[in-house]
Structures are given as structure tokens and as C-alpha cells.
Symmetry: C2
Subunit: 289 residues, 2 copies
């Protein structure tokens, strides 16, 4: 049984990713993303699961900053889960009586249309996480309050789902990465949907067309890119690096060829990982050991 550190508290979206991938292992909530990756560095956990894209809870930038600036631990897997928000109430309360809705500010923002059309007169109160909001509702059965949170929080805090799927955009997903101290082959409860390779490229200068030249190296090899993002280098404004996701496993010829060519052109190239990609369809029925 492995020890899996994740961005807590219990019943966050990161927790859903952990339960989906590692239902048999021991999940250990961590307070922040750096704390989670530090636990990996100190061998207190075997794997770290942290958000990397489109996150509700943690800042994705903090994840990238740690991997790029602190310790280049390899990404050994990724998990994509749908963002589904529900309105949760205590079973002793009725939906029409609700006067206050608690949640994380981003979750409130994600359910803006529903709140404006269906629950117009309610007061909205920010909490530190969707899980904390669900806990509050569970702890205060006599108050006319509801929480916006995920289905795992409903289960964890024994709340009723009064309204399902109240988020504004139905195709919104969050992506998490699994980080290990050394590259390894994951044993997960899910079947992988394919492979990805994540590469960090920093350009030698800012001149127009440098990125275009970098992408040529991928393009003429028919390497499909599923993501590209520029990020400031933190050495001052104007210096950027790029995070590029390639839609395949690292091979012996093509990707090493790109790396060698870009390095010859003066770029710095680092492979952050080549890993299986998992997707979760349903977020119910997930349990820790």
C-alpha cells in the first residue's frame, strides 16, 4: 500500500482524483501544493497528486513553479476529471427555505447563472474550500443553509443533493498530475486513455518568431501538441518559458530529435515527464481504504 499525498482537505476535487486512481492506497491530505511536494522530497509520501490545469482549489502556477524552480521531479501520470458542482443541503432542511449558500469563491463564480436564475435572493458566503462549506452545512442542521460542493463531499458529510450539476459550463475539466521522486510505472485502478509527454522549453531571446521556429521542430515530425502555455521565467518581465504537451509517449527518435535540435538553436529543453493519461467519467462511488 502506497502513501499518496494530495492537496486537501478530504473531499476536494484532488481527493476525487486520488480515489479514482488509487482506491486501495493510503491518501494523506496536505495543506498546500508546496507542502505536498516537500513531503515527497522528504520521503513521507510515495506519490503526490496536485492540480496542473484549470484548478478550482490550488494555484496551477504554484505547481509549475515548484517543479521548474525547486525540484524537477518527474510527472508519472495525469488524471482529468469533470468539474461537477451540486447544491447540498441537510436532510432536515427544505430547498425552498434556504437563505444562505456557502462555498469557495471560485465555485460560487462557476455556478453564477444557476444562482442568479434559481436562487436569486440568497446570501452568498465564501469559505476556504467547497469541502469546508459542506462540513459547515453538516455541522449546522438547524440553519437554513446550503453548500456548493462535489458529490464526494455530499457523501462524506451525509448531505442531500438538492440540485445536481448547477455549474455554468458542462464541459469544464480539471487536470491533476501524479508526481514521483523517480520515474516509475504507476499501478492504478483506471485504464489509461493514452500517453502524454510534457516538455519545458525556454527560448534564447524574445525575438518575434522564436516560438514559431520551436513549433516547427514538432510540426514537421507530425508530433501533435495538446497544450501550449507561456509562463514568465521569474527572472524579470519579458522572459518566458513554454510548457508543451505532446500527445504521445516519448520515443527513441522523434522527441529526442526535437530536444537535440532545439538545444542546438540555443533553447533550454527539459522533459518533465512521459506518462499515461487517465480520465474519470463518474465521480460518485469512490472510496479510500
Amino acid at each position: 500500500m502506497k502513501k499518496i499525498g494530495f492537496l486537501g482537505p478530504v473531499a476536494t476535487f484532488t481527493d476525487i482524483a486520488v480515489r479514482g486512481l488509487f482506491p486501495e492506497d493510503r491518501a494523506i491530505p496536505q495543506a498546500t501544493i508546496p507542502a505536498c511536494l516537500d513531503s515527497l522530497a522528504n520521503d513521507e509520501i510515495d506519490l503526490a497528486v496536485v492540480p496542473i490545469e484549470n484548478a478550482l482549489e490550488g494555484s496551477v502556477n504554484i505547481t509549475l513553479d515548484y517543479l521548474v524552480h525547486e525540484a524537477l521531479y518527474p510527472i508519472v501520470g495525469e488524471m482529468t476529471i469533470p468539474i461537477r458542482q451540486h447544491l447540498l443541503i441537510h436532510h432536515s432542511q427544505k430547498l425552498e427555505d434556504i437563505q444562505t449558500v456557502y462555498s469557495h469563491s471560485h465555485a460560487i463564480a462557476q455556478c453564477h447563472r444557476f444562482l442568479h436564475s434559481t436562487l436569486k435572493a440568497v446570501e452568498l458566503v465564501n469559505m476556504t474550500s467547497t469541502a469546508a462549506a459542506a462540513k459547515y452545512v453538516s455541522d449546522h442542521p438547524d440553519e437554513k443553509v446550503a453548500a456548493i460542493a462535489n458529490a464526494l463531499a455530499a457523501e462524506e458529510y451525509q448531505l442531500t443533493i438538492a440540485h445536481q450539476d448547477i455549474h455554468d459550463y458542462s464541459h469544464n475539466h480539471t487536470r491533476f498530475i501524479v508526481v514521483a521522486k523517480q520515474d516509475c510505472h504507476l499501478k492504478t485502478a483506471q485504464k489509461s486513455k493514452g500517453y502524454k509527454t510534457t516538455v519545458m522549453v525556454s527560448l534564447p531571446d524574445d525575438r518575434a518568431g522564436a516560438l514559431h521556429q520551436v513549433l516547427s521542430a514538432f510540426s514537421w515530425r507530425n508530433l501533435n501538441l495538446s497544450k501550449i502555455e507561456s509562463r514568465p521565467m521569474k527572472t524579470g518581465l519579458g522572459n518566458y518559458f513554454f510548457i508543451i504537451d505532446i500527445d504521445q509517449k516519448i520515443d527513441d527518435v522523434l522527441i529526442p530529435g526535437v530536444k537535440a535540435e532545439l538545444e542546438a538553436l540555443g533553447c533550454k529543453v527539459q522533459i518533465l515527464g512521459s506518462y499515461p493519461s487517465y480520465q474519470l467519467g463518474k465521480i460518485e462511488e469512490l472510496t479510500h481504504k
Copy 2:
């Protein structure tokens, strides 16, 4: 005097951007990013200031989603401010007595190294914002507590800066955009450092090299790109659009030429705005009217 809606509460980083740009106008805090842009839609405010990159408080994705999916209001300005975090205490307390530190979870993560080296034994408690943490410390002068927040919060809640600049990365910046209902020329207290044009491009298909082809149109015209980011279309996994920042004002020939060419190739192209760029060096000495 204009009415400026911003992502509140008072003394957030967004508030700093507002005070830097519009010290003479009336700043009106809003609970969420969609609420802020809705206020603009309903003519309750004249301008909206919301985070667009590297944000501590709001989700940048929520800003982009609103502009792309709800209402294509033009970006009329941008403001970049440095992320500086300080340790704030009540003047009646001493730093060596502090037992608990309150802040937003992202701010706690941003000061991870300082907290691990200098304040090892303290308890860390998440709050809904850095401003809320500062308010808590101000309201509880007898408790041995500190807050991580910005200099504006220190001023607003009359707290002492016990440790200045405790954030891990010194070149971290946050970018905010000013959104209006119609394109307009901003009157601000800052001198602009240049112009940017933001373009949204969606590709006709996912084939390898499509992005490379798109960038060619910019590259051979010597249009320098300061940012490129891929974002899912929300019509399902695998459909992406790109947000591209060009480092100049829109002209009559080059940028319209790119747009026409890309549209002829089957891309959808939308100019989100062409606007002056402001940078704040110091974040002290900023006041609302």
C-alpha cells in the same frame, strides 16, 4: 467620476490595481468575477477590473470564460503589479510570540520557504482572502496571530509589517484587465508602457501543425507575441482555442491581414481588445477617493 467595479473585498491585489489606475474614481467591490462583469452589462459600473493572468484571488479561467462565452466586451487596458506578500501583526503584539498565521491558501503556498525557515512551529490557517486574514488580525488584538497580506491591507487595517517581502519568488506578477462595454480611451493616473492586442483563435481541427501554421501568419510579419495559451473550448475534450497577445497596437494592415488570412484557412478569429499596458512598481501610497 467613473464607477469602477473590481473583484473585492477591499485591499485585495485587484484593489491595488484599481487604486493605481483610477485613484480619483469610485471603486465598488464585487463578490465574484461574473458578478463584476454582470454589473458592467447592467450599466451599474462604467469599467470592470478583473484578474487575467497569474492571479492569487480570482480564477483567470472564469474571466476568459465570461468574455468568450457570455459577452465579448472589449479589453480597454491592462495593469501588471508585482506580488508582494508581507507578514502583518497587530502593533500590540511581538513577532516572537506569534503562534498562528492566517491567510488565503495560495498566499500561504507562495510564502512556503519563509514559513518553513523562519516561522517553523506556527499553525497555518486558511482564510477566504488575504484581506480577510488582515481584518481578523486587526479585530483580535489580544490573540497571538499574524496575517500574510499586501501593504494595502496593512494600511487599511492599521497593522504593522513585521516582515516585508516574504514571498518565495521575487519576480512574480499578477495581470489585470480593464473591461468596458464599448471600446474607449482610458484616463488613468499611470503612463502606459506600450500597447497590446489580444486575439482569440480557434482552429478548424486538431491536426498536428495547425498551431504552427497559425503562428506563421504572425511570425513572417514580425509581430512579436508576448503570450500564448491554449484553453479548452468547453464543447468537449480535445477542442482548443488560443489566446494570443501581440506586443503592439492594432494597425490598419498587419493585424487585419493576419485575421483575414487565418479566417480564410478556416480559423475563427476574434480581437478581444487593443489597449494600453500599465505597470505598477510600488504598491504603497495608493488611496481611493
